[in-house]
Symmetry: C2
Subunit: 289 residues, 2 copies
């Protein structure tokens, strides 16, 4: 297969110039990691803004023009749009083109990638970074630095294409981590999607108090625990809807954990309650010392 | 009643030199907010450490000696120890002494304070600040700065005693907020104790995956949402056990919220799900812009 072997010589086209795509383009440009960065956005203003920010060498609203000469195409829209794009983009891509994405769920993406024409080299991707502020204005070249960047190759993916995807992750300062798409989805359901749902449920519960004083006594603990509730809704909705099975499983497991804690509290079982609290505290302290 | 009218002229005795008591003593000393700061701790080493840190003018392991000449006594141990101390300390306090505390639940404290001898002036207190690291070594004079500091006076509390308690909160840089003890407990159950339980349950759920890769993909979202799980267990156990009714109520409300979100997800109701997500996101963004 005719895959570029060095990212340095490649044209990278980023489709979707929001927080994730914009930051990826910015990192590649700032680090001179590839020959050329092309940005594709739906709106002319976004293209103009990316040019003004100097994070792409060229920008366009036309997908076909943007990807025509690409060695690497990175889809950086919300997940459901990524899946739609995968269904359309195949015929537009040159032979040997690496097609990857930054979507937060990988099983549905992998299924869509499986149906791509054989001249395309697909590798799913999920950088474990972000922030609550969406959009190009919030993009920054350092966003990916130090982050774990999950790659989910398909059985059809050539080694050279996976190697190029690895180069891409490292070029923006991240650490590649190879995972099976289904395993990835089960992990992020518990590590990322469940925390979001808890944060949203927590805000709703506090709101349900209907006591304005609630916000007066909300300190850093409430602030941190609810941070994810402010995540971009469009992005999160796509994530939840494309990872329903795994999210449902992790929700059921969480509810069982909470029921255990509730029972210990109701029965006043101080010893059992302390044991559960200590186990969680010790694991958390080991994780983030 | 013979209550000191100016904090400036008062001796403040802090009982319990952990994170909260140590930081309070440090703030009072650093800001020259009162005539003298006396520290009472169980262990000689803690007293010596407080003296070395220069955060108390005098320290002792003997409660009676420490409070004998106090104008203000601040109980700064875990809540169940505060309640025990209130039961013993009355006869040791000089007439007109303000007795307050920094415990995280207030109804049980108020009930104990109600039984104090009439020469003592009780005012419950709860500064809405802290951090996960417990102990005197983690104490810092800036801990209370900018924090809301809830005061829960009793009907028996004289105006002059409440005024002195207000001075104390402002002297360490906090903003006093008067609340009824029961209302306080209902608010913090939702705003503080529920977030702790969710964080602990979330850590347990992730642990339950039994997949070491889980910790590799844990990014800032998981870190922030679980931060409270690392809270001091002894402190949190006392809080939960002295606020069981309100915590149980808020847990039930939260579980109903989570069940709503789960149902919307299971039925694939994208419109309903988005509406719930948007409401939470907007509230969170208004709260912490």
């Amino acid at each position: 297969v005719n895959v570029a072997s060095r990212l340095q010589d490649a044209q990278v086209t980023v489709v979707g110039l929001g927080l994730m795509g914009g930051s990826l383009a910015a990192a590649l440009t700032a680090r001179h990691a590839c020959r050329r960065v092309v940005g594709v956005a739906r709106r002319e203003e976004t293209v103009a803004q990316a040019m003004t920010m100097g994070i792409v060498h060229q920008g366009t609203c036309h997908l076909d023009a943007g990807v025509r000469d690409a060695d690497v195409v990175v889809l950086a829209t919300p997940v459901r749009a990524i899946i739609e794009l995968i269904g359309q983009i195949g015929p537009l891509l040159p032979p040997g083109c690496l097609l990857t994405d930054v979507g937060s769920t990988k099983d549905a993406v992998a299924q869509a990638m499986q149906a791509l024409p054989p001249h395309v080299q697909p590798v799913g991707g999920h950088p474990m970074c972000g922030k609550e502020t969406a959009g190009l204005s919030a993009a920054e070249p350092s966003l990916y630095e130090g982050a774990t960047y999950v790659l989910t190759p398909l059985t059809r993916t050539a080694d050279v294409a996976l190697a190029l995807a690895r180069q891409l992750t490292q070029a923006v300062g991240a650490r590649p981590l190879l995972l099976d798409a289904s395993r990835h989805d089960a992990l992020v359901a518990a590590i990322s999607h469940l925390p979001y749902l808890l944060a949203a449920g927590l805000v709703a519960t506090a709101e349900g108090l209907a006591d304005e004083m609630a916000w007066q006594v909300a300190a850093s603990g409430f602030r941190d625990t609810t941070r994810l509730a402010a995540s971009d809704e469009t992005m999160m909705l796509d994530i939840l809807l494309t990872n329903r099975t795994a999210v449902r499983q992790t929700l059921a497991r969480f509810q069982a954990q909470l029921a255990d804690l509730t029972r210990l509290l109701e029965t006043g079982d101080a010893i059992g309650l302390r044991a559960a609290m200590t186990a969680a505290a010790q694991r958390r302290r080991r994780l983030f010392p």
